[in-house]
Symmetry: D2
Subunit: 166 residues, 4 copies
């Protein structure tokens, strides 16, 4: 089971949380590789993946424009159809629009023909409605949220295994 | 392979298009049943389904409130987690917000833990970005769109078969 | 300057925050009345208002269905066109979709012909991207957020005064 | 009364419709200038504007990434706060996500502190829920929609006059 996480990170936070998700994925035996949108992409690896998670900071209550550019133009031809797709976001504030950032990416993943998945409320706590979010300007939320990110990674990998390793 | 379509229909159009999707699903051998949100639900059948498509008219550029009520409260306990989920909408005008109606439902399906799927652009024409749309006040679009709705039904059923009948 | 806040509240939290916003509005001399969607509405007062803020809990990462029902059907005829419109939401978790709840209402307010306004980042801190959010399961966020809600109320009222009392 | 339309256009369609909106705006005496995001911007003119409309093609069911880049980064400092803001989109198909393209921009305009406005259903036909849309692969919709675009321009300008020239 191969999985990938594709992210854009300026401060290192989105990258760090991508790594936390990857740890959760590895717990259930998945191979995971992380790719920044600003680094070279191993297209053969990505093609062989059964699931891809995208990570973005929240900018003006939507995703980083580099994520749009990457998905729409720069890497428009990468084969994502049929794979499991998910998304997470970092933001400063609860009212910062992180959920809109996630949905803006999930909408593009649907157009790619992915199976869009968050786990939602189906696995009990923590509920992860559209995707995990970490807020760095709300108390200790950024650090506290890491456990949820790891659980998201594990759930996502388990779903990919259930769907594609039968 | 059991599938279901759950819809709200006032004028009969959303129901008619649900039937067109069902025809497409049956072409590939699926069993399909349709349920209006205003009629009794066969919960045992729905539980046994591998995929569920939701259909709504577009009201004020979002889905009918009965769909929200049904998903959030009236049928909050129905087991949708892990199933393939999709959505279609009817609307009058191109600028009427049918896509927002579809996304408002897909967002709730994610919270249910469904695998949200439209096929997108992955199968070539017709591209069905977030879900099929029929407009009854734009030339002959409502009638012309029926072919797309049948194709959506077929693609949706084929994906469910691929995922769950391996 | 007359303003109104229309809310749905089950636990009393959304109502309490509506009152906090109202306090902020009154600071700059506005008359404010609050209406639960479950109580009688003074339509004459609402018609005379220059701005209306809507408040909702977050249910399944969108607004309470009673808000949809109220705006789309029950009170479809109330005159909101041309008034300033805003929205706030309560939620449990950062990843709970409060921003999607707010946008689902703002989208309907646009269809009503309102001038949709949050203040955004234009007034400096606190940035309130699409509308204020209070999380009751993230540390002390619910209590801490009250100051932001009062500021939102004040900014909203100041904008209404600027627009309509010239 | 100064107004501006800022657009991204590859094929010339989005530019053409920007010009149609501008004609509608000029009917009621507004001065209007159009700026492509790929051309130099007259910042002094834009600062003096009371309203700005943004136009985008629909790419993967959202706006062109250049619009995100322009609003979030390239022109993050342009003063849009307090101005009337609107959006229109071009797309190929009814199910192509033009409404999501419009909302993705309107969400950013809220963060800028704009008064977001579409007219909605408040002026009778044509209803323009979140913003005007022209579809070039649905019968004659693209040409037929021009009348609606001109009406949108006129309504938008009239609202700006009503708000800012009192």
């Amino acid at each position: 089971m191969k999985l990938a996480i594709i992210y854009y990170s300026e401060t290192g936070q989105t990258k760090e949380l991508a790594e936390v998700i990857a740890e959760g994925m590895r717990k259930v035996g998945s191979e995971v590789r992380l790719f920044s949108v600003d680094e070279p992409l191993d297209e053969a690896y990505l093609s062989a993946c059964d699931g891809v998670v995208f990570g973005t900071p929240t900018h003006m209550a939507t995703c980083a424009w580099r994520m749009n550019q990457w998905l729409i133009e720069e890497r428009a031809s990468i084969p994502l159809a049929g794979k499991l797709g998910g998304c997470f976001a970092t933001a400063h504030y609860a009212q910062g629009g992180s959920d809109s950032a996630i949905l803006s990416i999930l909408g593009m993943l649907l157009v790619k023909g992915m199976l869009v998945y968050s786990g939602g409320s189906a696995h009990g706590q923590p509920f992860i409605h559209h995707g995990p979010v970490a807020l760095d300007a709300v108390g200790n939320h950024y650090e506290d949220a890491k456990e949820m990110f790891a659980i998201f990674g594990q759930r996502f990998a388990e779903k990919a295994i259930e769907l594609f390793e039968k």
